[in-house]
């Protein structure tokens, strides 16, 4: 990460829409070749996997647990459902879904990163959650499942790390059953300017220092802050979902828009 020159300009001053071409994409504030992004993101998550849960609690003051609960509540999951927890990482959503879908249902925890998947698998097995969970290492852009397989697909704090988000959304659309829904939980744009400023200060000044102290990796958390700013805002993501074929799309801002939950159906 350190070998690539960084642009440290806050997101609000950046023109994100026109800063990439067909062959380039964002990695935080850097513009890089698309092929490079997968390995760079993989590097970040291999580095933070073991401290991921602790850092999540620290960085969000534990609120990420409520954001994830909100997602579960909004999913309308029922016993017997088949759920794909994409970019599921350390398995927080999978753990809850596994209990809610019961013996008749199934949850697939998929992540592109083997380190994250291993941490998730160990954690869930330690908690005795084994009977209805499968683990798959998969790229969201090329999901290795048959069409019309899942009732629910969730991707929590993962979409912003995907190189080609449109392709990933189309891939998700294809594996959903008709009537199925996608829930995207992701950092977004705060609704109020004061909150936006405070959030910017926290993300670029405090967060990397916390990463340095706890996970001994400040750069990965600098990337986290930058990637959040480069992620499409609420309405842009909603449009992207509609372009991928999703219907009845909507979003709900949580904690003043720091995070948003997008939902769309396949009919």
């Amino acid at each position: 990460m350190s070998s690539v020159e960084k642009n440290s300009t806050p997101a609000s001053e950046q023109n994100t829409a026109n800063s990439t071409t067909d062959n380039t994409t964002h990695f935080g504030f850097q513009t890089i070749e698309k092929e490079e992004k997968v390995s760079k993101v993989a590097g970040v998550f291999h580095s933070v996997a073991k401290q991921y849960d602790v850092m999540n609690d620290l960085m969000s003051f534990g609120i990420h647990r409520l954001w994830k609960r909100f997602t579960i509540d909004a999913s309308g999951v029922r016993p017997g459902n088949k759920v794909l927890d994409l970019a599921g990482g350390t398995g927080d959503l999978t753990a809850k879904f596994s209990q809610l879908v019961g013996k008749e249902g199934q949850v697939v925890l998929a992540d592109i990163n083997s380190s994250m998947l291993n941490v998730g698998r160990d954690k869930l097995r330690d908690r005795g959650l084994v009977q209805n969970i499968e683990y798959v290492q998969a790229n969201a852009e090329y999901l290795p499942f048959e069409e019309n397989t899942f009732d629910i697909v969730t991707i929590a704090f993962g979409l912003r790390n995907v190189t080609d988000k449109d392709k990933a959304l189309r891939s998700i659309f294809s594996v959903l059953k008709p009537g199925g829904r996608l829930l995207v939980l992701e950092f977004s744009k705060p609704e109020h300017e004061v909150l936006n400023k405070a959030y910017d200060f926290y993300s670029f000044n405090i967060l990397p220092k916390m990463g340095e102290l706890v996970a001994k990796d400040g750069e990965s958390y600098q990337y986290l802050a930058e990637s959040i700013r480069m992620h499409p805002d609420q309405d842009t993501l909603k449009n992207m979902m509609e372009n991928a074929g999703f219907e009845q799309t909507s979003y709900k801002n949580l904690t003043g828009g720091i995070v948003a939950l997008h939902k769309g159906y396949k009919f």
Partner: protein, 216 residues
């Protein structure tokens, strides 16, 4: 209506339902783990009990897996739903009240009532030795002292409540004459019964007289 929508929006933004459910789930699972008598969830595995309280604008659903309870704020896929209020739930502690509360439409049960009974039985089966649990964290001597203090406080509070109740009763009945004594109520009830009896006698005599006049 607008104010209600606003309240729902604020509650959603602050994730109050999720916070509350998270706290309830933590307490329930902690209680299950602390129980001296092992509690089995096998009978209620994969079943969901939902509580819809008038005071809350969201449901509270409790689902059981083989070892844990999961609390969510979605009413979907519930096997049994209790629709009521916090006040009514407190009255439910007296078992004989159940039928009466349903009749008075203060409690509505939709779905499998046996599931609600199974959940209640699990709560009754819990046996938690609080002293041992507290002692693990603060030690034996402080726990003993804390127990003594809480017992003393409990007894003082009970005494205070009894004395307040009797003082208030005295004041209302004898000084302000706003309430009546039990014997007065009994006398009044007897008088009402006597009047009822006399009234029914008069009614039957009137009916006889009407019959006679019709025959003539």
């Amino acid at each position: 209506m607008l104010a209600n929508n606003r309240a729902v929006n604020i509650s959603e933004q602050l994730m109050i339902p999720q916070f509350l459910c998270s706290a309830i789930e933590l307490i329930m699972n902690k209680a299950l783990a602390l129980s001296n008598k092992p509690v089995s969830l096998t009978n209620i595995e994969n079943k969901t009990l939902t509580l819809e309280l008038a005071e809350l604008n969201f449901p509270i659903s409790v689902s059981a897996s083989n070892t844990k309870l999961l609390v969510t704020s979605t009413g979907a896929a519930s096997d049994c739903t209790l629709i009521s209020s916090v006040t009514t739930l407190r009255q439910l502690q007296a078992k004989q009240q159940l039928t009466e509360l349903i009749k008075q439409e203060q409690l509505d049960i939709q779905g499998d009532i046996k599931l609600a009974q199974q959940f209640a039985r699990i709560a009754e089966e819990l046996e938690i030795d609080w002293q041992t649990e507290i002692a693990k964290h603060i030690g034996d001597v402080p726990t003993h002292k804390l127990t003594k203090i809480s017992e003393k406080a409990k007894s003082s509070l009970a005494q205070l409540i009894t004395s307040l109740e009797s003082d208030v009763t005295e004041f209302l009945i004898h000084e302000k004459k706003l309430a009546v004594t039990n014997s007065e109520i009994k006398r009044f009830n007897q008088a009402v019964s006597k009047t009822q009896e006399q009234l029914s006698n008069i009614e039957s005599r009137l009916a006889t007289l009407v019959n006679h006049s019709n025959e003539n």
